[in-house]
Structure formats: C-alpha cells, structure tokens
Symmetry: C2
Subunit: 291 residues, 2 copies
C-alpha cells in the first residue's frame, strides 16, 4: 500500500498527524511542565470562546502539556464568571456563541437561549416584532459559526430594552490558524454594537477581569507574575493593565518592530503594549529551568 | 360572517389593508403627481437595496404615485451602475445582498455569486482555506437577510487578495418600519470592514454618486434642484454634498431640534446636515401647487 492514500496509522505517524492538525510550539510543553515541577503556578489564559475548560485540558494533554481544569481561563468560562460574580445577573442570557459557552454558563447556573442556527424566517415587519423572551436580561456575544442576520436583529431588539446587559468575550478581529486566518468574533461584536448603538463590556484580554479571575481563585501576587504571550494588543496589554511583568514570544503575530513602534510612539496607551522582555520562542527558557 | 376573522375583501377594505401594510405619507402622492403635471422632473432616491427599479415602480403605483422605472434610483441599481461606469469592473462580484441586487447587476451585464443562504459547513481550518472563485474581483455588500458567518469569512478571504474592490450600498445602521425597526445593512458592512481591515466605498446617500446618476442621465442643473427627505444624515447631507437646495420633512426620524443642534455645533461637517427649509409634511406643498 506504499504511496497509496489509505495508510496504516503507526504510532510515529499518529504523532505527526496530530501535530499537523494542531501543534504546540516546539519545547513549550517541556517548559510549562518544568515550571510546574519547579513549584511555579501556571495558568492558561485564552480569548478563544469555543472550548470549555474541560475541552482545553484534553487538547493541552494531547499537545503534551500537564494541565488541570482549574488552571484554564478561557472566555467561555470567564464570561460565565463575569455575569455571575460581577454583574450578579438575575435572568436569562440571549447567547450568540458556542455550545462551550452554553456549557460554562450552565455550570454556574445561568440559563441561556440562542445557541445554534437561526435561519431567516418571515419578512421585515416580522423581524421588527420578533418574539422576545421576557426573562432575558443580558446579551452575550462570543464566537458563533451560526451567526446570522436573524441573530443580529434579535440581539438588537433585546439591547434596546431598558436595563439589558451587553457583554462580549473579546474583540479579536481575526483568528490565525495554520494555513491561513478566519474572521474573528470581534467582527460579530462590531455588527451587534453598530445595530444596538451601544458598546459591549468585553471580558477577555486585555481586560483585567481575566487576571482578576486567576488572582481571586489562587491568591497570586501581581508583582510575582509573568504574563507570557505572542500578541501585544491582548497578552502584553493585559499584563500591563494588571501590573505584571511581561514576556513577548515571537512565535505568533507580533514582532519586535511592532513593540518598538509602540515604544517610540510617545502615546501613553501604546506604552502598555511594550513588553518587559522578549524571546524568539518560549523554548529559550528551557536551559534556565534545566540548569 | 360579521366579526369573524375571515372577511370578504371589499374594495374599500382592500385599500385599508394595503395602507396598513405600507402607506404613503398622506398627500405625498398628490404632491408628486402635481409636480410632474406642472412640468417638474421628479426622481425617487432610496438607500434601500432590496428592490429593483421595476419593483419600486410597482410599489409606488400601489401607493398612488405616478412613477416610471428610469425615475427610480435605488442602491441596487446605483451599485450596479457604480461598478460598471466608475470602477469599470472586469470580473465577477462576490455579492452579499438581495435578489434585487443580483437582477440589477445582471441587467448591466455583471456576473455575480453569493446570493442566498450560505450555512456553516466544515471546521475552522476549512474556513481559512475556503474555495474562492478566481474570477471574483469585487466584494459588494448590501442588505442581506441571509447574512452569515460563512459569508463574512468568505468576503474577508476575497478582500485580502490584492486588487479586490470593496463596495457597500450604504451605511444606514437601522431600518425604520411601521411597528418598530430592524438592523440595517450598515451593521453587516461594519462586520465585513472589521474583518477585512479595509473601508468600503459606499454608493448610497449621502455619497454624491446617487445624484451624479440622476444628473448624467437627465442633465439636471444642481442650482435648480430641491432634495426632499426625512433624514438629515443621508438625504439632507446628499443635497448639501451636491449643491442642491434641501427640504426636511418631519414625517420621519429627524427633528428640527436635530437640525438646530447641527447648526449650533460650529462643526463644518455637521453644517451639511442643516436643511434650507423644513415642513411638517410634504403635503404642505399642496396649496402652492393647486393655487
């Protein structure tokens, strides 16, 4: 069967296939696992709202990371926490988002409606008078592959009601993937904000709430934290917003030139996107940990 | 059958039913028809992209207006003209829009793809590598009840290709309807612009292209034109942009207080939203025409 398409998946090949689907930065799992073995606390902080904490632990394990559920802070989980602990929401959520967001909300006892397809039905006059759930007291927007005009219009109708909360997971406008990039949920949030003529409160990086979650649950001291990330506008900015030391890795979208441009801009807000340190890859920390 | 739901539709009732579905401002048809009888040229200029010229003539006739196809300038027709005469587009259009837009494009010999539902299929990595039509050289966004994440992402992929044109019908963020309002196409355009990290060129009011279309086809003199409309930011602004006299009617969303606020702002751009004249309703012109 050599050269054919239907090949027996050997152990070595299995690893290769898994890596090609979604691979860790080489050396990253070793660094993380060694940090933990050396007694450091490590948390995984992501703006991606399409996975639950449980799903992330499974993914991280496949990639070779030693991770536990309570160390993962994604926007699916953190949005639910935000609604529960900061907004103290009493009522249902109209959710433009993923099944993962639904699960994290249910896990903290929040009811929601809206997940899944919502295809066009009826005519314009029907859409102006679309039936609304009277229990809905918040609109939450995350990444939603089923985003549609019907959802946009429904969110707008809820958001013009007095007292309706408006929360977004994050503002990332593009999602980089191996082999290209796709439209990010920031585009969906922008559409809903434009319709509602209101700004959403966003939960994800660079908003300090993501770190507040970690700090409140693990009692960490900002002075003794290092924020590691590959994006200046989210990861490094979060670190700056929370008074953490920051380390930029050059394995993602941001470059040293970007950081230098921020530094030279003289603009106060842009200084927050200048990291304390940078490395080509997190793997460069390996010798220091092994030494 | 008196009092029951299933009533025989008498001629008088028919009119009432039609009126309740979509009615003209009382007196407006008479004013328009008298203007034309008095030898004035009248044009119907709308940012709504969901109807062809032919569909508008049918609707206007039902409402009592004497209108011909070549007097109607909607953004479905004007976008097609813009692509043809200003952009001189050689290639296909990826169209986020209505069947009406498709028909107007076909009428001027432009090929397009994209109209109708585009539901979610596959996974994120597929969306980063979505198959693109190599003949597409422009993305056009109008009102699309089938707007979806798949369309947003597809538009983004086209718009990151070099030389791809980007045109929007207009920027209206809400569409007022009897009994409420719905999300306008400006929200969809905003989402695509955010994903593409580019601004679209918009064709509709207040862009002067709508008037250029009229002027080039009918040789009208701006100095002897009156722009009548109920919105300051589109109708009156278009008139100002093109050097027309302007008349605000108070039968829509804008108020005299809005106009006064623009006038007092001292902001040069906002002066363009101050009309020369205003009336409660266009029906107030009736005595002058009958006298």
């Amino acid at each position: 069967m050599s050269g054919s398409k239907c090949a027996r998946l050997s152990a070595a090949l299995a690893k290769q296939v898994l890596d090609s689907v979604d691979s860790a930065v080489p050396g990253a799992p070793q660094v993380i696992n060694l940090l933990k073995e050396n007694g450091k606390k490590v948390f995984f902080v992501t703006n991606n709202s399409t996975k639950t904490r449980k799903m992330y632990v499974d993914k991280l394990s496949v990639l070779g990371f030693n991770a536990k559920e309570d160390e993962v802070f994604g926007t699916a989980y953190c949005s639910a926490m935000y609604l529960k602990t900061v907004c103290k929401l009493e009522g249902k959520v109209y959710l433009i988002g993923s099944n993962a967001m639904r699960e994290e909300m249910e896990a903290v006892g929040l009811q929601q409606t809206g997940v899944g397809p919502d295809h066009v039905l009826g005519k314009q006059t029907d859409w102006a008078n679309v039936p609304l759930d009277p229990e809905v007291k918040a609109v939450v927007v995350g990444f939603d592959e089923h985003f549609s005009y019907m959802k946009l219009n429904r969110a707008m109708q809820y958001l013009t009601q007095p007292g309706c909360l408006f929360v977004g997971t994050n503002r990332d406008t593009r999602l980089p993937l191996e082999g290209g990039q796709i439209a990010g949920m920031g585009c969906l949030l922008q559409a809903v904000e434009t319709a509602a003529q209101r700004q959403a409160q966003t939960v994800g990086k660079p908003n300090h709430f993501m770190f507040d979650c970690v700090a409140s649950q693990f009692g960490v001291d900002p002075d003794r934290c290092l924020m590691v990330g590959d994006r200046l506008d989210t990861d490094i900015m979060l670190g700056s917003n929370c008074g953490l030391k920051t380390l930029l890795t050059l394995t993602g979208v941001s470059t040293v030139a970007d950081a230098e441009a921020h530094q030279k801009s003289g603009c106060a807000e842009r200084q927050g996107m200048v990291p304390d340190y940078y490395v080509e890859s997190i793997a460069e920390l390996l010798p220091a940990l092994q030494g």
